[in-house]
């Protein structure tokens, strides 16, 4: 599953009939392992982050916030299901099988979304840094050459526009709040920053998809992302970390299945029930 060694060119020769489906693109047969990995990357971001947000249910700092953040989690889970359904159509496995019967090495989510919830500032920092990237990415994906990717992205974009408005609002409230909230928000940002570099790293297989007009160019999202982040942080009186070192670069990140220790623990809890009773029906 998911070979990143440029094997797309071999597939091109063996599936000539499906090239017609890719509008104006030169290289990618449809479907291909590279597209599968890309769609799984999009699905797993939503799935893992939804699971994390679900851990706040009943424990939110305020009732309204409890409802709001779980609403965001449900939105992300809904998007993940759409992506997983597409991945399942490419691959033959069902949504449940993809969600519950893959190991962490087969998950393709960003390292950022699997980080533990921490305190509420940690959760908001993770959410905002992800949402700001996610909204830019989805806007680009609505123009994807793959019709299904474009359709799912268009639906998700309306939800994610609200997510980024919400989370940026909280960054500003906590940052420009009391001394305690400011200190915690700054600490949360500093701790999450090293996971943000991966959002803009594009490996060779993904680069092929970008050139074929199917994937969005994540590297090109960095400039608008950092501009938006700087603007929100300025209003929140928070400092943008100066660190440039990034976890998950060099082809060994979440998108390649190299995860932090947190993911397998989270998946153990998420997957234990279907794995214990694989034939369960309800």
């Amino acid at each position: 599953m998911g070979r990143n060694d440029g094997s797309v060119s071999k597939d091109r020769a063996s599936q000539p009939a499906s090239r017609a489906q890719v509008d104006g693109a030169s290289a990618i047969p449809h479907p291909s392992p590279a597209i599968l990995n890309y769609v799984l990357h999009l699905a797993d971001n939503g799935l893992v982050l939804a699971q994390r947000l679900g851990e706040w249910v009943g424990k939110g700092p305020v009732l309204e916030e409890d409802i709001a953040s779980t609403n965001v989690g449900l939105d992300l889970l809904g998007q993940a299901r759409l992506w997983l359904a597409y991945a399942g159509d490419i691959d033959g496995r069902g949504e449940d099988e993809l969600a519950y019967f893959r190991e962490s090495a087969d998950y393709r989510n960003l390292l950022l979304v699997e980080q533990p919830n921490g305190n509420y500032a940690d959760t908001i920092a993770r959410q905002y840094l992800f949402d700001q990237w996610h909204v830019l990415l989805l806007a680009e994906l609505t123009a994807s050459g793959d019709a299904r990717i474009a359709a799912i992205a268009a639906k998700a974009l309306t939800e994610v526009r609200y997510h980024v408005e919400r989370s940026s609002g909280w960054v500003i409230r906590l940052g420009d709040g009391t001394e305690l909230s400011h200190a915690r928000m700054q600490a949360a940002i500093d701790a999450s920053w090293m996971y943000t570099g991966e959002m803009f790293a594009v490996d060779a297989a993904e680069r092929c998809l970008v050139d074929a007009g199917i994937a969005a160019d994540a590297a090109a999202l960095h400039a608008p992302w950092i501009a938006a982040v700087q603007s929100v942080f300025a209003e929140a009186t928070l400092a943008v970390p100066a660190d440039t070192w990034s976890q998950g670069n060099g082809g060994r990140g979440g998108k390649q299945g190299v995860h932090t220790e947190h993911l397998s623990r989270m998946l153990a809890e998420m997957q234990v029930l279907p794995r214990t009773y694989p034939d369960a029906r309800w």
């Binding site: 309204e64 709001a68 609403n71 609002g169 409230r173």
Partner: protein, 94 residues
């Protein structure tokens, strides 16, 4: 100072409605948060297209003890209802 956020009353107008209806209340630190929280708490099932949030402290209500004095006199003043002249058909749906 209790440290609790102020209470807001929320009114939602549905897509096919003409008036905002009271749907409940919530706590929020300020007006923008009140509208956002109302969106998350009270419009989960596509209940509406417009939200009004008003601080509960700004709503003034009549006292139930005054109900007799305020409302009973209008019970038997039939001349206040415009029912004594026939309306031509053309005007009925103004």
């Amino acid at each position: 100072m209790s440290g609790e956020w102020p209470l807001w009353e929320i009114f939602i107008r549905s897509q096919h409605g003409l008036a905002h209806k009271h749907v409940g209340s919530l706590h929020a630190a300020d007006a923008q948060m009140a509208v956002t929280n109302a969106r998350d708490v009270y419009t989960r099932r596509n209940e509406g297209v417009s939200i009004w949030a008003v601080r509960s402290a700004d709503i003034h209500a009549s006292s139930p003890a005054d109900r007799a004095a305020l409302f009973e006199p209008s019970n038997d003043k039939v001349y206040r209802h415009p029912t004594f002249f026939p309306m031509p058909d053309e005007v009925k749906h103004i």
